[in-house]
Structures are given as structure tokens and as C-alpha cells.
């Protein structure tokens, strides 16, 4: 009897799949393993130890860069999610209008523009503003991160709104809810998982950005990724592995928390 086509029964499927997974995860497994190395090398195993985690935790530069990364990611993700929520409401909860397609394009274009182009453009514009105002604070990095985070925050929020019946807001209005109260009691609670997903995505994207940060940052404004990049050019010790492992753990925690929260909401 002829069986229906099943990609899993094709010759060589298992080998290809195993190879792809190995390529994805083996380097990470190696990286995490050597974070616990007792020796100075990232290639020779000399026993289990937490010394590199202790070293990283005691490294003032690492702590400084981590705090800055979290500050930028939190601020950028908050602003980007707010802007993306408003943009998503405006593009889905209104009657179709002229230029709607252009609005979508403008919102999503940053995903297509090569990051290096944005980085150079921002470098030039910010350099002028710095000269004119003398301000050299974190504002530039937060503005830059906000800009490239908006489309990432927009996508899950828009997807959530697309699946939401417009009659729900009509029903709320029909039942004496003013537009503000309809938003507060119906739209916002239903949109919440989408907003949370948008925030998490924006947060993670901001946290590990290198290219734009490298171009935009002023002196002494290292973030964790740019600090690590700088260190890798010099001596490589398992301290880098330890920092990366902590970074990975943070991402897993963030994603897990989001998953649990969104599941409870539905």
C-alpha cells in the first residue's frame, strides 16, 4: 500500500536533522561547559570550578556594562512597545484609510534595511547633535535602540489585534462603555499577551545588539556585547564563557516567564 508522503521517512532525513541540531547547539554546549573550567584555557579541561563566574561578578567593567545594557534595553523596550501598541491600534482598529499600505511599509522597513546603514546614518546625525548640544549621555543609545526595536514589538501586537473581533469593541460601546473604558476593560486585557511578547522581543533584541551600539556609543558607554567584543580581541579566558552563560540563563528566564504569564492569560 502506498503511504502518503512523509518527510520524516525520507532517506537521510535523520542525518541532516542531526547535523543541523549539532551545528546549532554543540558550540553552545562547549561554551557553557568551559565556563566551569578550573584552568585558564578555553580549550584544555582542568576540572570543575566556579572561579570564572566569581571573577566576572567581581569585574567592575562587566558589572558596569551589564547595568548599562539593562538600562538601555528596559528603556528602549518600554518606549518601543508603547509606540508599537499605538501604531498597531491605529493600523487595525480603524476603518481602512488612504496610505495604510504605506504605513505598514514604513513600520516594517527597518527590518529590511541593513543594520550597518542605519548605524552609519545614526552616527552622522548624532555627531551633529552632540556638537550642537554638547549632550553625550545614554539618550542616543536609547533612541537608536528604540528605533530598531519598534518593528519587532509591532509584529506580535499587530498579530494579536488581527485575531481580535472588531465587534468586541462595538459590543463594549453598545454596553455603555466610553471609548476610554472600552479600551481599558476590553481591548487592553485581550491585547496584553501581545504587548508582553512585543516587549520581550524588543528587550532581547536590544540586549544583544552590537553593530548600532558600536557606532552610536560615546566613550565609556560599553554595553555587555560591545565589552565582550572588545575583550575577545585581547586575551580569551573562560570569563567570557561565564558571562555568555549568565547571559543565556537570563534569556531563558525571560522567555520562560513570558510563556507562563501568557499561558495563564489565555
Amino acid at each position: 500500500m502506498a503511504r502518503p508522503f512523509d518527510v520524516r521517512r525520507q532517506r537521510g532525513f535523520t542525518v541532516v536533522a542531526a547535523f543541523c541540531f549539532a551545528l546549532l547547539y554543540l558550540p553552545i554546549v562547549v561554551l557553557v561547559t568551559y565556563a566551569f573550567n578550573a584552568g585558564e584555557s578555553i580549550a584544555n579541561w582542568e576540572g570543575v570550578s566556579l572561579r570564572w563566574f566569581v571573577a566576572a561578578a567581581g569585574n567592575a567593567q562587566v558589572i558596569d556594562a551589564s547595568i548599562r545594557s539593562l538600562q538601555i534595553a528596559t528603556a528602549a523596550a518600554l518606549i518601543a512597545t508603547t509606540a508599537a501598541t499605538l501604531a498597531a491600534l491605529a493600523t487595525t482598529r480603524t476603518a481602512p484609510y488612504r496610505g495604510q499600505a504605506a504605513t505598514f511599509a514604513a513600520l516594517n522597513l527597518p527590518l529590511m534595511v541593513p543594520e550597518i546603514v542605519t548605524a552609519v546614518a545614526l552616527l552622522i546625525v548624532f555627531a551633529r547633535i552632540k556638537m550642537a548640544t554638547g549632550y553625550t549621555g545614554l539618550g542616543y543609545l536609547i533612541a537608536a535602540h528604540t528605533a530598531f526595536c519598534i518593528p519587532f514589538a509591532y509584529l506580535p501586537i499587530r498579530a494579536r489585534l488581527d485575531g481580535m473581533d472588531l465587534n468586541l469593541e462595538r459590543a463594549a460601546a453598545d454596553l455603555y462603555a466610553t471609548p476610554v473604558r472600552a479600551f481599558r476593560h476590553v481591548t487592553l486585557p485581550l491585547l496584553w499577551p501581545g504587548i508582553l511578547a512585543g516587549f520581550m522581543l524588543a528587550f532581547v533584541i536590544s540586549l544583544d545588539d552590537v553593530v548600532i551600539t558600536e557606532f552610536v556609543k560615546s566613550g565609556g558607554q560599553e554595553t555587555l556585547p560591545t565589552y565582550m567584543l572588545g575583550q575577545l580581541r585581547r586575551v580569551i579566558t573562560p570569563e567570557m564563557n561565564a558571562i555568555s552563560t549568565a547571559f543565556l540563563a537570563l534569556s531563558i528566564v525571560v522567555v520562560t516567564v513570558f510563556f507562563l504569564v501568557s499561558r495563564k492569560r489565555d
Binding site: 473581533d165 463594549a172 453598545d174 454596553l175 455603555y176 462603555a177 476590553v186 492569560r265
Partner: protein, 367 residues
């Protein structure tokens, strides 16, 4: 509007689109809906019935004309300030709230005290027989139960008018029949004016106090179910509500409200003429299939409509006989079945249809 009217729609037009793409979904409609009435807007999809309902609800605003509610012009009032509630076609229940919270939502938005809301919600749950499921999420209950919750939610704030947008269309046949009876009961118990939108003529006939038949953005006829069924105003109403035979002919004379019509397929019919009809000449007669009887052509009285039986279709309660007339057109006769009596006629038989007195009506032709 008179004091007995709950809603008065005065010359309302609603145009969608712009430039060459302009469409009048509602075209200069004037109609009054009385207090405590079960009023139905009936018509095919795209006839403007849902747009008219949305204009009354306040989800759309008229391009011209006015809508009056209980003596006040509400044409520009937003929906959250109109004491009118809606049961949506897809129910639009709030998925993040329980059954109770859904039902109490309107009262909460009206800032009523908590104790009053709880009391009213309990009464509504009892009214729609959903007490046992008060704490459930709306995605944990069946379609029929969601329907009841939607009704309770719309009735809870005691609106002056309840709008129902094809609320039964998603239910299966048996549940739909139950809900029809349920809706009539609710309307009688609450005394609220119901405006019901449907494309199902049977639903309209069984439930309504009055029906407005709509097509192409206009109301063609308003009347009791009996009036629109027995005395359709025109060809469209006759065709849309129930089945009907349309027979062209010539009016010979009119006397005492009865027109004597010679049919172009042969035969003669006495048809009830519309009020004030006096002319002669060409006209169309409408006749319901159940108002004719079939007999063998041999021995048929003079004036009977003669033809050949094309098919006999058994429907359980009755049998539909499709008779081919002299000009090739189809004429339907419906006869009730009796126990253990076989079909009286078979395909190919020469038959004649005899019409019950005062059953046929002359159609008023529109210019």
C-alpha cells in the same frame, strides 16, 4: 413620530464609499417601530437590513435623515449613550470574562452599585436558564449557551430597544427552533421592543408581530406576517416570502374588489384586487402552491389551469407537484399527505389545477 413608537426612522440614507464607488446601503427609508413590538427586518444578504440595524445601534451614522428614539433625535448620539443593546451575529462575548462578568458589563459601565449588579445578573441568569454556568469562561460553553449569554448581556441593562442581528444563524436546526420560542418568551416577559434581522422568511413569519421586507436598500412592504404572506405588495415580496406561482394574464373586469383575469396559459382566475385598483389590461396574478388543488384533466371545471405533471416531490408532510403549463412554465401545487394514501398523480399525467376562492391576488405593478 407618535407616542406609541419606540423608534422612528425618518428618511434615512446611508452611503458608503466615495466618487464612482458610492453605494447607498440604505436608501431613503422611513419606518416606525412600535413599543413592545417584535419587529423583523427581512431580506436577502446585501439588502441593507444589517446597515439599518447598525444605524439604529449607533455603529454607523446616517448620511441624511434622522433616527428618533422615544421622542428624542439620536442621529448623532454615540452608541454608548443610546439605551439600545445589541445581540451580535457572532455574539461578541468578551473572552477574558466569565459568563457573569459578561452579563454584568453593561451595568458596570453604567456605574450601578455592586449589589444591584449582582442581583440583576442573577435574575438574568435565571431568565436565560444559565445559573449553573455563571462562573464559566465564554469559550467553555456551547454555541447555544453563548447565545443565551449574549441575550442576557444585552437585556441586563433593561434597554428600551433590543437589536438582534441574525442571532440564530449559527445554530443547528433543532436549537434554532428552541431559541425562536425562547426569544418570543423573553420578549413577552421583558416587554422590550425587539428589532430582529434575518434572511430566513420562516423565522420572520413565526416570530414577528410585523415584518419589513427589504431589498436593495429600501423597504418594500411592512405588515403582519399574514399580510405580507397573503397580500404581498409586489413580485419581489411574493417571491421572497414563501413559494408562489406568478401567472401573467389580462384583467377582463373588476367588481367588488375581485378581478376576473384570463390567463395567458389558458384558464381563468378570480383574483383579489389591491385597494383602489380599477384598471384593465395586462396584469400578474400571484397564487400560493397550497391554495390550489390538482385533479385529473378529464372532468376539470371550466377555467381550471391545465398542464402535464412533470414531477411529484415527496416532502414528508406534503407533496409538491410541478406542473408544466402550455407555455412551458412551471406551476407548483402543494398538497398535504394523508396516512397510507399513495400519490394521486404520476409524472406524465394530464392534470388541471383548481384554485380556492379568494386565494389568488392581483399584483400591483410598480412603475
Amino acid at each position: 413620530m407618535s407616542a406609541a413608537d419606540a423608534i422612528a426612522v425618518a428618511g434615512v440614507t446611508k452611503v458608503f464609499g466615495s466618487g464612482n464607488g458610492q453605494v447607498a446601503a440604505v436608501d431613503d427609508i422611513t419606518v416606525s417601530i412600535r413599543k413592545n413590538e417584535f419587529f423583523t427586518l427581512l431580506g436577502p444578504s446585501g439588502c441593507g437590513k444589517t446597515t439599518l440595524l447598525r444605524l439604529i445601534a449607533g455603529f454607523e451614522f446616517p448620511t441624511s435623515g434622522a433616527i428618533w428614539l422615544d421622542g428624542a433625535d439620536v442621529s448623532d448620539t454615540p452608541p454608548f449613550r443610546r439605551p439600545i443593546n445589541t445581540v451580535f451575529q457572532n455574539y461578541a462575548l468578551f473572552p477574558h470574562m466569565t459568563v457573569e462578568e459578561n452579563i454584568g458589563f453593561g451595568l458596570k459601565m453604567l456605574n450601578r452599585p455592586k449589589a444591584e449588579i449582582a442581583e440583576r445578573v442573577a435574575a438574568m441568569l435565571k431568565l436565560v436558564r444559565m445559573e449553573a454556568l455563571a462562573g464559566r469562561r465564554t469559550n467553555q460553553i456551547s454555541g447555544g449557551q453563548q447565545q443565551r449569554v449574549a441575550l442576557a448581556r444585552a437585556l441586563a441593562p433593561a434597554p428600551k430597544v433590543l437589536l438582534l442581528d441574525e442571532p440564530l444563524s449559527a445554530l443547528d436546526y433543532k436549537l434554532r427552533k428552541e431559541m425562536q420560542i425562547e426569544l418570543k418568551r423573553l420578549q413577552a416577559e421583558t416587554g422590550i421592543t425587539f428589532i430582529f434581522v434575518t434572511h430566513d422568511q420562516e423565522e420572520a413569519l413565526t416570530m414577528s408581530d410585523r415584518i419589513a421586507v427589504m431589498a436593495a436598500g429600501r423597504i418594500l412592504q411592512v405588515g403582519s406576517p399574514r399580510e405580507v404572506y397573503d397580500a404581498p405588495a409586489d413580485r419581489f415580496v411574493a417571491g421572497f416570502i414563501g413559494e408562489s406561482n406568478l401567472l401573467p394574464g389580462t384583467v377582463e373586469r373588476v367588481s367588488g374588489g375581485l378581478a376576473s383575469v384570463t390567463l395567458s396559459v389558458g384558464g381563468r382566475i378570480e383574483a383579489v384586487a389591491p385597494d383602489g385598483f380599477s384598471g384593465g389590461g395586462p396584469a400578474t396574478v400571484v397564487l400560493r402552491p397550497e391554495h390550489a388543488r390538482l385533479m385529473p384533466a378529464a372532468g376539470a371545471p371550466e377555467g381550471a389551469i391545465a398542464g402535464t405533471l412533470a414531477t411529484a416531490v415527496y416532502f414528508g408532510t406534503d407533496t409538491h407537484y410541478h406542473v408544466r403549463l402550455a407555455d412551458g412554465s412551471d406551476f407548483t401545487v402543494r398538497e398535504q399527505n394523508r396516512p397510507s394514501v399513495e400519490a394521486r398523480f404520476h409524472a406524465g399525467d394530464a392534470v388541471a389545477a383548481v384554485v380556492e376562492p379568494r386565494a389568488a391576488r392581483l399584483l400591483r405593478e410598480r412603475p
